[in-house]
């Protein structure tokens, strides 16, 4: 059991704390000059892989990212957290918003063919599109079992027990390896990259390729028609007591 290879995916997204601005053409959001970071759920994914490596359950962590030239920084961050080597599937600048989960899943399916990992760990969703699709699509393409929204991952002999956070509570499932797992926020608390690891990361290899090299057609299947700000939140109304509250709710047709 010692010596699994794990493929982890990470995505460069606009930093979660940034105030998002809609582009003047209404077809997307402003990304130029805006602070980007690794998708928070992907940090959980990398952290879990690194913890498994420290427990000697995993022997090698390969981190892959699909994105523009700057995605290399995201991969380097993952290497500084403890991944062993990186794969950068590079997209032409400015086209990253067109890359949709179906294309990402196809790319990862090809990477799985090449790298032959025992497990793929992804973040459960990216905070820019909130799609939550890549894990499931990938599992389907590979015909592998999937454990999504994982808040606990326990690797056994040839299988993984996962606790999933679902609407009804927590669900424990067991899947056989190889499998695709998606990380949720409470899976772990990602580490800071220490300085020695930042220095070590400089020497780790990042292989570069483009989707064409993998034979994947990444043309979008969905077309964005319009992007608008959510409506401005209006002030609420204070009521003196519960019976007035009930009357108001009935009045507005909410009861």
């Amino acid at each position: 059991m010692s010596g699994l290879r794990v493929l982890v995916g990470c995505k460069r997204v606009i930093d979660y704390a940034v105030k998002i601005r809609v582009r003047p053409d209404g077809l997307g959001v402003v990304t130029d000059g805006v602070k980007h970071s690794m998708n928070p759920f992907d940090e959980n994914a990398i952290e879990e892989a690194v913890r498994l490596k420290q427990k000697k359950v995993v022997k090698e962590i390969v981190v892959a990212s699909c994105g523009p030239a700057q995605s290399q920084e995201t991969i380097r961050t993952a290497l500084a957290m403890g991944a062993d080597r990186g794969i950068h599937v590079e997209l032409p600048a400015g086209t990253e918003a067109d890359l949709q989960p179906l294309a990402v899943a196809k790319i990862f399916a090809k990477l799985v063919e090449k790298e032959k990992p025992d497990m793929v760990i992804l973040g459960k969703q990216a905070i820019d599109d909130d799609a939550n699709q890549t894990t499931q699509l990938l599992a389907g393409m590979l015909d592998w079992p999937q454990g999504t929204m994982a808040s606990v991952v326990d690797v056994g002999d040839g299988n993984v027990t996962i606790t999933r956070e679902i609407d009804g509570g927590l669900e424990d499932i067991s899947v056989s390896l190889p499998a695709v797992v998606s990380a949720d926020l409470r899976l772990n608390e990602p580490r800071y990259a220490t300085l020695p690891n930042i220095m070590k990361a400089k020497k780790k290899k990042i292989a570069k390729m483009n989707p064409g090299d993998l034979g994947v057609d990444i043309a979008p299947r969905l077309k964005v028609l319009n992007v608008v700000d959510p409506p401005v939140r209006e002030a609420g109304e204070k009521v003196p007591d519960v019976s007035t509250l009930m009357d108001k709710l009935k009045e507005k047709g909410h009861l």
């Binding site: 704390a17 805006v34 608390e189 800071y192 300085l195 990361a201």
Partner: protein, 411 residues
């Protein structure tokens, strides 16, 4: 250990007004090498999550941030300038300047502890120590568990470092006996070793000064009371007294009589660190002012829309970026083996004056709120002030700059 170094869940999800307003601060990655940018992001995260939340409390309680110093040690920050062979991170001075700024932006006290250990304690040892000294006095002082200090100033002389009157008498039996007092020593209480400058022959003036590394606590060393300072209150500052303090002659650092040169070279590099600290305080002040001005309304509009406020914010931003770029330039010169005294002095001078300016104007932007401890502006104002004084007063920096400038320009 893992848990302590992990980023708290609540902070990762929190979206306070201040973060929203300023989280998009963007430094072009074409200006910093990839590893330095990675380091900058890590330090920024660390400062946001671990330092900012406690900075007010350690200021109020005059509390040494022990836990945070240990965390910085585990991350490799406390020994970041030391080479890998000795257990350090072997990072460039550019990386150090950037780390100092981001850490100090979270907490200026953490910044001064970081800079004293790296530049003032490790600096002279790395430049002048023999193998035995490096193993004994450098390697154990890299992980935050032990910190050092730097004893140059005395009650009778600060700027006039050459007039040091602490004496070191070479005894016949392989010891030096130290007598005298050193003043304004940062990390005075927590340090377990000190680089001390003492004269073996006052008649030789500054050429009689030698550098020594002295363990603490030690027979013959006593500490004065902790100074009650205006700012960086979490850092201990005190007089260190030497009364017939006997140290092994193996503790002589570098050659006898080289002490003044060692001190000056150490301070050159230290200035880059202090400039970083000043920049962190300045940046924190600017962010405080910007966030407040977006929220505060007067005459029906946020005050950030008003010209007098915008004028201040613009001036703050200009002074910060001007100082930052000189500091990066000084660090790059040092990293590439070029002379950098003038540039380091310029960086320290410009950055410290930027810090006091920005902190002053931040209080002004906040108005009454700037005067109370509910907002960090008043703490930045108090923290900033020392950066124009220590590691060479602004007046001394001007002399260093002019001296170098005249040498360059006048044939």
């Amino acid at each position: 250990m893992l848990g302590r170094l992990a980023r708290p869940l609540v902070q990762r999800c929190a979206t306070s007004i201040t973060r929203d307003a300023v989280a998009a601060r963007h430094i072009s990655t074409t200006m910093l090498p990839e590893d330095v940018e990675l380091l900058r992001k890590m330090c920024w995260d660390f400062a946001e999550n671990e330092l900012k939340p406690i900075a007010g409390q350690i200021d109020k309680e005059h509390k040494y941030p022990l836990e945070q110093v240990h965390m910085m040690g585990e991350l490799g920050l406390m020994g970041m300038v030391a080479p890998e062979e000795l257990g350090g991170a072997g990072m460039s001075y550019l990386a150090y300047a950037v780390a100092m700024e981001e850490i100090s932006r979270g907490c200026a006290t953490a910044g001064v502890i970081l800079s004293v250990n790296n530049s003032l304690y490790l600096g002279p040892l790395l430049a002048n120590g023999n193998q035995e000294q490096l193993e004994k006095w450098v390697s154990p002082f890299l992980d935050g568990q032990h910190v050092g200090c730097f004893c140059l100033s005395e009650p009778g002389n600060g700027s006039d470092a050459g007039a040091a009157s602490t004496t070191a008498k070479h005894t016949g039996d392989g010891h030096y006996e130290l007598n005298g007092a050193k003043a304004w020593i940062t990390n005075g209480y927590e340090s377990e070793a000190a680089v001390v400058f003492a004269t073996t022959d006052k008649s030789l003036k500054h050429k009689g000064i030698s550098a020594f590394v002295v363990p603490k606590p030690h027979e013959g060393i006593s500490l004065g009371k902790k100074e009650d300072k205006l700012g960086i209150k979490g850092s201990s500052t005190c007089v260190v007294n030497f009364d017939n303090c006997m140290i092994d002659e193996a503790n002589l650092l570098g050659k006898a009589g080289d002490g003044f040169k060692i001190a000056m070279r150490t301070l050159d590099a230290g200035r880059i660190g202090v400039a970083g600290q000043a920049l962190g305080i300045a940046q924190a002040s600017l962010e405080c002012a910007v966030a407040y001005s977006q929220q505060r309304k007067a005459f029906g509009k946020p005050i950030s829309t008003m010209q007098t406020i915008q004028s201040k914010l613009a001036d703050m931003e200009c002074k910060i970026w001007g100082a930052r770029l000189i500091n990066w330039h000084a660090a790059n010169l040092k990293d590439n083996g070029h002379p950098f005294s003038k540039e380091a002095a310029m960086a320290k001078l410009v950055a410290s004056e930027a810090a006091t300016y920005c902190a002053h104007q931040a209080i002004q932007v906040l108005g009454g709120m700037g005067y109370v401890s509910d907002m960090p502006a008043e703490r930045h104002y108090r923290d900033a002030r020392i950066t124009e004084i220590y590691e060479g007063t602004s007046e001394i920096q001007r002399l260093v700059i002019a001296g170098n400038l005249l040498k360059e320009m006048v044939q």
